[in-house]
């Protein structure tokens, strides 16, 4: 697997008004050191940004490496493409769920919970034409949230992990929230909205990158009524599940999202209209 690593170092000096970044619109928050890493895992880019006085310490770099390692392990276990993954063994019936790993059984349980919490619209048993159990819609964010614990151990450090369009955040020590852009599914060079988040997650599902790939579990047909669904909430996994379920639901998601307490977000309908919501806890 390709794991081309890029590493981008932030500067230590506080940025002033004339910092070159400002001209490009990428303006670092003043003050705290910042550092970013990117690796390709599970066929998608995983970006890790950290902010804090010790952002440049080697202990942080080591923790980020541990995070990437854990994601590679998640990929090895749950990949639907690698014939030797535990998921493929399960799908081929070579192993029973009861004998599967703790991780596999946890993910399967979460899939059942997700099915119930979305009235069946997130359905890991009907997410692909061949009808095999496939938790891929959930393992990515499950794995990221799990791997993030390597960074949680570091005091005085805020992080933003972007995993192929889903983002997990914790606050930097200065309390300055991260500013997250919501991509416009009709023009991916544009940002449709921004949302400041100190702690929590932003997940987006949609058809912009991979076409209509989310199936309506009731008809088996690809859903096309929504171009994108973005959910902001406290949990990365659940924001992702809800975003995926909204796409599967289609236009009726406009009503459904009002039931998602403690979340905000937006839906982009096929006609380009945008529905926003923000629900109290």
């Amino acid at each position: 697997m390709s794991t081309a690593t890029q590493e981008h170092r932030g500067t230590d000096e506080p940025h002033d008004q004339a910092a070159p970044g400002r001209d490009r619109g990428v303006t670092p928050a003043p003050g705290l050191p910042h550092r970013a890493w990117v690796e390709q895992i599970m066929g998608m880019p995983i970006s890790v940004h950290v902010r804090g006085p010790r952002a440049r310490d080697e202990v942080v770099a080591a923790a980020v490496a541990d995070l990437f390692d854990e994601l590679r392990a998640v990929d090895a276990r749950f990949s639907p493409y690698r014939e030797d993954s535990e998921l493929r063994h399960l799908q081929r019936g070579e192993v029973d769920l009861a004998d599967a790993s703790d991780e596999m059984r946890e993910v399967e349980r979460l899939c059942r919970t997700a099915w119930a919490r979305t009235d069946g619209w997130f359905d890991a048993w009907h997410s692909r034409p061949d009808g095999l159990f496939d938790p891929t819609g959930l393992t990515k964010t499950w794995g990221v949230a799990r791997a993030a614990r390597h960074l949680d151990r570091l005091p005085g450090l805020g992080y933003a992990i972007g995993a192929g369009g889903d983002v997990l955040l914790t606050p930097p020590p200065d309390g300055e929230p991260w500013l997250i852009g919501i991509e416009d599914p009709r023009d991916r060079s544009r940002v449709l909205a921004t949302v400041p988040v100190s702690e929590g997650a932003v997940a987006t599902s949609g058809t912009a990158a991979r076409g209509a790939h989310i199936l309506d579990p009731r008809t088996g047909a690809p859903t096309t009524q929504l171009l994108a669904a973005s959910v902001v909430g406290p949990s990365l996994l659940w924001a992702d599940v809800f975003a995926t379920a909204a796409i599967a639901r289609g236009a009726s998601a406009v009503d459904w999202v009002s039931t998602l307490h403690g979340t905000s977000g937006l839906l982009v309908l096929a006609d380009g209209s945008v529905h926003r919501w923000a629900n109290a806890v």
Binding site: H34, E176, G181, V195, A208, A209
Partner: protein, 173 residues
């Protein structure tokens, strides 16, 4: 009478700070001091720091966990206020000045809305961060905002090369 109503309106300024949440769509204005869903809980600054010195004894109440801040406070004075719309004094909060307008119908407050929200993006962001984050409505070209991460439909490894996120990562911030 009018003084009483205005006093109530000013008090509600504080209450709205505590409870208000733009549940209706596209209200856009992002102001609320509810504890964050993620449990960060800090910074909710009880709202009624009003400079108007009202003493109607209603504020506080931070125990309430939900509510849209609309009209739930009864005007307990008994004497019926005239129907109409009243604007309260401007309260100085730690986030900036807040003004609330109330609508009285049948002697009771039927609606309360903040008409003047704190401005200044930094401040707004901080408020939002401690409440449920609200998505603003500005459409911006990538690179014209101080964005640090992008949420979008799943990038493929190839698509990433052209993506906004790639540019942000490269900028190293």
């Amino acid at each position: 009478m009018r003084r009483i109503v205005i006093a109530i309106a000013s008090t509600i300024t504080g209450l709205v700070l505590l409870f208000s949440w733009p549940t209706s769509l596209n209200r856009g204005a992002a102001l609320a001091a509810q504890p964050a869903a993620g449990g960060t809980g800090s910074g909710t600054s009880s709202g009624s720091t009003g400079s108007t010195g009202t003493s109607s004894g209603t504020s506080g109440g931070s125990g309430a966990s939900s509510g849209t801040g609309k009209g739930s406070t009864s005007a307990q004075s008994g004497s019926s206020a005239k129907d109409g719309t009243y604007t309260g004094g401007t309260a100085q909060t730690r986030y900036g000045p807040v003004t609330v307008q109330i609508t009285v119908k049948g002697g009771a407050i039927s609606d309360a809305q903040a008409t003047n929200y704190p401005n200044g993006s930094r401040t707004d962001q901080r408020i939002n961060a401690y409440a449920i984050p609200v998505l603003n409505q500005e459409v911006v070209q990538a690179g014209n905002a101080n964005i640090q991460m992008v949420s979008g439909a799943t990038f493929t490894s190839y698509g990433y090369l052209q993506s906004l996120q790639s540019a942000l990562d490269k900028a190293g911030l």
